[in-house]
Subunit: 283 residues, 2 copies
């Protein structure tokens, strides 16, 4: 049973909009099951207020940190005194930890969360070929994490040519040996994994962000959008008999990493990990 | 069962320390029973950070407001664009409502909460005589509220002569006809009500703030301290066979007023009032 008292440590998720966020349920379920006296609450913060809000939250001693979501992931980096490697690669953060001196340490778990979720559902990454459509914060994070996990080739597309070029060049600079190409928003037979990293599909009338007509039968079609759970792209993939991978897996697989980063695991880390994973598996 | 999702409205209680606060339990029990999707969380805010914290919280759209506790009740008034009458009288606020434009409206329910709690426990106020020891924010609030409720005479004491004089003069200026006197920290036979409004009693080694040797057998000895629930003063009063009135009644009786002020009552106000009161009675 959830409980908040004067000793409860606080995590907030900052976004605009925020009503659709699933982080409160995911984090609070983990805190409850692990007996950690902490709670995550939603903060609806318009972009114009992000600076003062983050400046003010630095003064709250029992605030463990904040989860950062759309549209703040890039701008929030400005307020971090330190950035994790993934945050530096992506130029964005999805988590800020409040240090004892009131400064923020920024980290980015989106890519890691997404990629961790793939083998969990039986989809290998090493040596495979992927198409990522959308090279904003989410696309950048997923691209870097796929390279970290051993993907062999990455095709990229974004309607914003500057954003597309920037990511392609950044990935090539990593010198990982991965084949990186600027491409088109159309799945090809060679793609083992097709990822929608655009916001296209959040609204009912949105067009399909990716043409699936030429997708191979082995392709896994993934969408990073969490609401709606079943996007038009995923419906289209199912209609074509393709395997789908909805956006909630990203969040589920990054919750545990964020809880650890925020130093909110219980004394026995193993126990927490087990309970969180069991819960995530059963969800 | 308590539940937080992306649509939950937030209230925070700001104080230093905050671990002892009972507001989370009291407010959240009311929200739950009334089916209001809101939650109150504790924010540990040192005095030096109050300004930036309040400035930042203005940017959180789903923040209904904040409850303000020690040591911020006076300083928080500086940030309010508007103040209720009780807040103006006391120079302090215990609640700030966030308006749609991001400004704060301040109100003070401490005095009203304390005084409302007296008849609820069978203790009348009209025409009675009271001693208040401690003329800081709490003492000021209780003094004004006792006058509003028809007390006949008020004896006041504070070891800070300036604070004592200021309250005595402010009460005399109200021209209510109440007899206001500067006194000593010693109950007299004439006192129907004796109130400790100092922080003396919060720590184990604290001396007795009021000498009860001469208290009459009809005297009600009240302490505004909430933790510990049973202060040394209340123990001493019980040992002398006197009636006691612990600090939690103040908070219990102001919760409903604050929930209404924060516009977090459910559509049917009557239903909420009834449920909250039933809960408070059974607590």
């Amino acid at each position: 049973m959830m409980h908040i008292d004067g000793e409860t440590r606080i995590v907030a998720i900052l976004g605009d909009p925020i009503a659709q966020a699933k982080s409160p349920q995911l984090f609070n379920a983990c805190f409850q099951r692990d007996g950690v006296n902490a709670t995550l609450v939603p903060f609806h913060v318009p972009a114009a207020h992000l600076g003062p809000v983050l400046e003010g939250l630095r003064g709250i001693v029992n605030l463990a940190g904040v989860v950062v979501t759309v549209p703040h992931k890039l701008q929030a980096t400005v307020h971090a005194a330190r950035l994790s490697e993934a945050a530096q690669q992506t130029g964005g953060v999805n988590c800020l930890r409040r240090e004892a001196d009131g400064s923020w340490t920024g980290a980015m778990f989106d890519g890691e969360g997404f990629v961790k979720g793939l083998p969990g559902r039986g989809h290998g990454v090493r040596g495979k070929s992927a198409l990522i459509v959308g090279t904003g914060g989410a696309g950048v994070a997923v691209a870097h994490a796929l390279i970290d996990a051993g993907i062999a080739s990455l095709d990229l597309f974004d309607s914003n040519a500057t954003s597309l070029r920037r990511l392609a060049q950044a990935l090539q600079k990593r010198g990982s040996g991965v084949v990186v190409r600027e491409s088109v928003p159309r799945a090809q037979a060679c793609h083992d994994l097709v990822v929608n990293a655009t916001p296209c599909g959040m609204r009912p009338g949105d067009p399909l962000p990716i043409d699936l007509a030429d997708a191979g039968p082995h392709a896994v079609i993934a969408d990073l959008i969490m609401k709606p759970a079943q996007t038009r792209l995923l419906e289209e993939a199912e209609a074509r008999g393709l395997t789908t991978h909805p956006g909630r897996h990203l969040l589920e697989n990054s919750v545990e990493a964020m809880v650890a980063f925020l130093r909110l695991l219980p004394p026995s880390r193993e126990r927490a990990t087990t309970a969180c994973q069991a819960w995530i598996e059963s969800a």
